[in-house]
């Protein structure tokens, strides 16, 4: 809640004004019954029609003022809620964009999505309603009590007497409610995940005829969400009748005590009538307050989940450049780097290599040997547990992200295209010109783009699903090349390309991007055999390095792979 409050704070002036306006409106609302009681007790007995009309018109005027004030205040409240939500959601998205990979892994993507969607929505509703009802209800409550005090102080004491009891109930319920609603939201994460999974995996699910099974799984999650929500709801359901009853009992007491007071000649029946009228207002205000607490419980649970992310520490600190720089002839260098995802077993151990500007490193190794992890470290998605990674002699931990990450052109294994034009997918918001886009597409052998009727303005479907796998990869490679990167990273980026296209692309890279330092992960030796350096990875360690010819001499595993692949050619 603390974080949320800091978002509301800038609007405290507006909220203040809104409060005043709402206050005036509410006073008008409260003034009406007072006028009414005045009329009944004082004006009517005078038998003066003129006075009756006068006070009648006054009531109408008050009603109009209440209308205007309340509408204006409501609109201001809505505006504030809109602004707070806009900023909160923006900041949340920004924070999530910059979360470290480790944090993303811990929060999990479905949970991030539901926090951005469902939780921000809950908070929006809370901020909106809280202002609209939250000002009015307490004013009605306190105002009502004050007016009743002036009217009949002794009777009011009865009302005040039960207030602490009511407060205790509300506090207890809302505190428990926040916990229960937090659990509901956590179950919602699971629901988001299931829908997401099914949307992406429908082919497999249908192929394996698992739709019935998936329905069952969803049913479990659905039931869980419902049950948790129901539990919270049940608790909330208790508050309304209980509060209602207590106030009504107080009301009865008022009548009884009032009777004694009238009997003693201290009070008048008209006063008791007016008093009861105020009690009804107070009762309604209290019910609104209860509703507010339900809203608060729900919104508070969501605010807490949002806060969890907003207050997550920035894990990736930028170290001091001076201290972590040295003269180096190398462009990219790994120095004895070790890393583990789960901190139990090393995924990489003692990796070292060095590349001069314009050189190419080929990485080859078995599935799961840690090839992609090298790229994850170089891009600083994770920091190594041991050793250092240097670019131009500077430890990458001392390079600001903006400088570091704009050096690269990357294609990951399962990379991401979005529903926009081909051009935008290649440009990726970098503001590149048409020539850059076109030459990158050329080098990536993405000539198929030109055959589309609208060329680079061809609209991609979600996840690029209207392109074949090989076409997707070529668009991705074009993206990597388009900004003429210092360092090119390709992680098995041509696996869906046929050999002819792959070979043509390599030729183009060699020719047009000779100044680019490249790290290429591949399965086929043919993709990397012309690289300046090749390292062979096994179980996270380098078991052989050198040029193609050197490795053929020195590394048995490498030779085996090469022979297997060549054998397939010659003897097939």
């Amino acid at each position: 809640m603390k974080t949320l409050m800091s978002y509301i704070k800038p609007y405290s002036f507006t909220i203040g004004i809104e409060f005043v306006i709402k206050f005036l409106g509410t006073i008008m609302d409260l003034f009406l019954p007072w006028l009414l009681s005045y009329m009944i007790d004082d004006v009517v007995p005078q038998n003066n029609l003129g006075a009756v009309y006068f006070y009648g018109s006054l009531m109408v005027l008050c009603a109009i003022a209440a209308l205007v004030f309340n509408i204006v205040a409501n609109r201001m409240a809505i505006k504030t809620a809109r602004n707070v939500t806009e900023r909160l959601r923006y900041d949340l998205f920004a924070k999530i964009s910059f979360l470290s990979s480790r944090q993303t892994d811990t929060f999990t993507t479905p949970s991030l999505i539901s926090r951005l969607t469902s939780d921000t929505y809950n908070v929006h509703q809370m901020v909106d309603r809280m202002q609209r009802l939250g000002v009015r209800a307490p004013i009605l409550l306190i105002g009502g009590i004050i007016v009743t005090l002036t009217l009949e102080p002794v009777l009011t004491l009865i009302l005040i007497g039960i207030l602490p009891l009511l407060a205790a109930i509300v506090l207890f319920v809302s505190r428990k409610g926040v916990k229960l609603y937090s659990k509901t939201q956590a179950a919602v994460d699971g629901m988001v995940r299931k829908v997401q999974e099914n949307m992406t995996g429908m082919r497999v699910i249908k192929a394996l005829s698992k739709t019935e099974y998936e329905k069952q799984r969803f049913d479990e999650i659905n039931t869980e969400v419902i049950e948790r929500d129901q539990k919270a709801g049940m608790l909330m359901a208790l508050t309304n009748p209980v509060m209602n009853l207590m106030l009504n009992i107080a009301l009865t007491l008022v009548v009884v005590v009032g009777a004694y007071r009238v009997n003693a000649g201290i009070s008048l029946p008209g006063k008791i009538v007016a008093f009861l009228s105020y009690v009804t207002i107070i009762l309604n205000a209290l019910l609104t307050v209860t509703r507010l607490f339900v809203l608060y419980s729900k919104g508070g649970a969501s605010a807490r989940r949002i806060e969890e992310i907003l207050t997550a520490p920035d894990e990736m600190q930028i170290l001091d450049t001076e201290e972590y720089s040295e003269q180096s002839p190398y462009h990219v260098e790994f120095r004895n780097v070790s890393f583990s995802y789960n901190k139990v077993r090393d995924n990489l151990s003692g990796i070292s290599f060095a590349l001069k500007r314009g050189e190419t490193l080929g990485i080859i190794g078995a599935t799961g040997s840690g090839k992609s992890t090298i790229l994850n470290l170089l891009l600083r998605f994770y920091d190594p547990d041991m050793g250092r990674i240097l670019i131009d002699g500077t430890d990458i931990r001392a390079i600001p992200f903006e400088t570091l990450r704009t050096k690269f052109g990357v294609v990951f294994q399962n990379d991401f295209l979005f529903a926009d034009t081909v051009r935008e997918n290649i440009d990726f918001g970098r503001g590149l010109n048409d020539a850059q886009i076109a030459s990158a597409a050329d080098a990536a052998q993405a000539g198929f783009i030109q055959t589309k009727e609208d060329g680079f303005l061809h609209q991609l479907a979600i996840k690029g699903s209207n392109l074949s796998g090989g076409q997707q990869q070529r668009v991705l490679i074009a993206r990597a090349l388009a900004a003429d990167p210092e360092i090119l990273l390709l992680d098995d980026a041509s696996s869906a390309l046929d050999y002819m296209t792959d070979a043509a692309m390599r030729k183009a890279l060699h020719h047009d991007y000779s100044h680019t330092t490249s790290i290429i992960i591949a399965q086929r030796i043919s993709s990397i055999m012309n690289a300046d350096h090749i390292v062979m990875i096994e179980d996270g360690a380098i078991i052989g390095s050198g040029s193609h010819d050197e490795l053929l001499q020195s590394c048995e595993s490498y030779r085996e792979i090469f022979e297997t692949q060549m054998e397939e050619v010659c003897c097939g």
Binding site: G25, Q196, M234, P241, A259, N263, Y499
Partner: protein, 600 residues
């Protein structure tokens, strides 16, 4: 943006194009959901009427009590006061108990409706054709399943009953007021039409705004889901700010839509209050006149005022509900639109189960286009005898994966037919057709669950031993055992600790447990290194044994032993034959083959 482009964009969001659904239709559909709880609903209704009637008696009782309080020292008739006070407590207590049970019932009911609605939505999703998933934003669908359903629920659980009880309260108060003073009632002849007119006018204006609010939120959620999925790439290019900029735009649109809807929606409360206050003023003026005329007691004015508050309260509430219902209608429209999406066409009425088959597949003169006019496959024919291996090669984008889509009926052909053992596949049940295939795709799909569950996914009642056997054959067992939790390791969403190649091995292990006559390998090992691929070759051969196999591969080495190789180019089969025949021919295949091993 050129017109062709914007046209395409609209195609991607078909929901925006369709005409709005009629309100009466929406109400009917919503009612169907409530109808299953008709008894509970009836009980709730009775309870709420009863508790409201009890509460209604309250003011009358207090009025009676007050009438017994005569002004002046010692003039109060205490037995009467106590009598009525006792009754008040009793009635209020009964009313509270009923109120509580009522809420419990309503929670039950509304959660039941939500549950059913989500269930229906999800089951609908499971029945939709693949083309739906190629066209729709996941986030938008998530938004429907979570937010829209919640919105409907919020108003169903509160509003429907409120409307019902409001009517009762209004009628009840009306009766009471007639009993007290029919003349004063004339005031409402004036104020009620104002409320009605205002409400009508306002709902008409507000409804499209609420539709927009739902749609914009769905759009925003779609964007969020899409971009959260691409977070790593965005970070790698340091494009966070750009994505954030686009997000910001959508975010602003969404909050603006919310704002405008509420801007008008929020007028309802104060306006109704105003009309209320107006009647209060009139009641007191006319009440005073009547009192002066001697036809009304002071206590009666007081009761009348209380009732008139009770009376206009529900009308007030009613107006509020109507405006809240607008958001429910907007949400319901999105929910029902999804529920109304055409499912995969039902199996033909005479469709038979594809039972014991040998697995001969024939494709006859097959043509297909995803978009009319853009032919992907053009009069394709081929025959795959049982147990044969058919390889499909060709440049990317030539339509290879489309053939798979048609074989498994993820899409239906525009012309021509496919037969399995002589059965036209449009005449057999989809389920039996699909389970006759085992499929390993390049695009691996694993779900949030243990490794065991993921491997065992395709087959019922699999033992751990069988799973381990399959994993060993797929050469992934050793890796699995190296994980602290072994086969019970939960695959996390981002699968950080598992590489793409390992995922492929897991899917291969999954396939190994299946027992079907036809096998589809679509770039099944494209991310697996050659060594591992070689080591699993035995297992792959075993997997392929006695099955009719369709293999798509770029590494031509993997398909040299195929019985028939189809070379596809631009949707046409340009060459076909065995590896030897094709090599001898020296055509396109020969070229493709040689390009593989050329270096720069």
């Amino acid at each position: 943006m050129n017109p062709a482009n914007s046209l395409k964009k609209r195609e991607l969001k078909p929901a925006a194009e369709k005409p709005r659904l009629k309100k009466s239709y929406l109400l009917l559909r919503l009612w169907n959901y409530l109808y299953q709880y008709k008894w509970l609903l009836l009980l709730a209704f009775v309870l709420s009427v009863a508790s409201n009637l009890l509460a209604l008696v309250g003011p009358k009782l207090s009025g009676n009590a007050i009438d017994a309080i005569e002004p002046g020292r010692g003039a109060v008739d205490f037995p009467v006061v106590f009598h009525y006070a006792g009754l008040m407590v009793a009635f209020y207590a009964a009313s509270a108990v009923m109120g509580y049970f009522l809420s419990i019932i309503m929670i039950r009911l509304s959660r039941g409706v939500v549950y059913k609605m989500r269930k229906d939505l999800f089951e609908k999703l499971e029945s939709l054709p693949i083309s739906f998933f190629d066209r729709h934003q996941t986030g938008d669908i998530i938004s429907i399943v979570s937010y829209d359903v919640d919105t409907i629920n919020a108003s169903l659980s509160n509003d429907v009953l409120q409307i019902a009880t409001s009517v009762i309260t209004v009628l009840g108060s009306l009766g009471m007021m007639i009993a007290i003073s029919p003349k004063l009632l004339l005031i409402f002849v004036f104020t009620i039409p104002i409320s009605v007119l205002f409400t009508r006018y306002n709902t008409k204006r507000v409804r499209p705004l609420f539709r927009k609010r739902s749609a914009k939120l769905g759009e925003l959620n779609g964007f969020i889901e899409e971009m959260t999925g691409g977070k790593k790439t965005t970070a790698a290019y340091h494009r966070e700010r750009v994505v954030l900029g686009r997000f910001s735009q959508k975010n602003t649109e969404a909050v603006d839509a919310y704002f405008t809807a509420d801007y008008y929606g929020s007028m309802v409360g104060p306006s109704m209050n105003f009309i209320n206050n107006l009647s209060l003023a009139m009641v007191s003026v006319f009440g005073a006149i009547l009192f002066m005329g001697g036809s009304l007691s002071l206590g009666s004015i007081s009761s009348f005022v209380l009732y008139s508050r009770k009376f206009s309260g529900p009308i007030n509430e009613f107006a509020n509900i109507l405006s809240e219902l607008q958001s429910a209608f907007a949400a319901a429209e999105r929910v029902f639109r999804l529920l109304d999406e055409p499912a995969e066409p039902a199996d033909a009425p005479d469709a038979c189960e594809l039972g014991n088959i040998s697995g001969c597949v024939a494709i006859n003169d097959l043509s297909f286009a995803y978009d009319p006019g853009k032919t992907i496959l053009n009069h394709l024919s081929l025959y795959a005898p049982c147990g044969s291996v058919i390889a499909i090669v060709g440049p990317t984008g030539a339509g290879k994966t489309t053939i798979i889509n048609l074989l498994m009926r993820f899409y239906d052909a525009n012309a021509g037919s496919v037969t399995v053992d002589g059965h036209d596949i449009t005449r057999v049940t989809r389920q039996s057709l699909r389970s006759a295939y085992t499929m390993v795709l390049q695009d691996t799909w694993l779900f949030h669950g243990t490794i065991f569950e993921n491997i065992a996914y395709g087959k019922e009642n699999v033992t751990l031993d069988e799973v381990m056997e399959a994993a060993k054959a797929a050469k992934i067992h050793k890796y699995i055992m190296s994980l602290p939790e072994g086969y019970n390791t939960v695959l996390s969403d981002n699968g950080v600790n598992i590489s793409k190649g390992q995922k492929q091995l897991l899917t291969i292990a999954r396939a190994m447990l299946l027992d079907s006559k036809m096998l589809i390998l679509d770039e099944a090992t494209s991310n697996v290194d050659t060594q591992t691929e070689r080591r699993i070759q035995q297992a792959m051969l075993k997997l392929m044994k006695n099955r009719t196999c369709f293999v798509i591969a770029h590494r031509l080495s993997t398909i040299q032993n195929a019985d028939l190789i189809l070379v596809v180019r631009d949707g046409n089969i340009v060459e076909q034959g065995t590896h030897r025949e094709l090599m001898r021919r020296g055509g396109f295949y020969y070229e493709l083959y040689h390009s593989q091993y050329e270096s720069e």
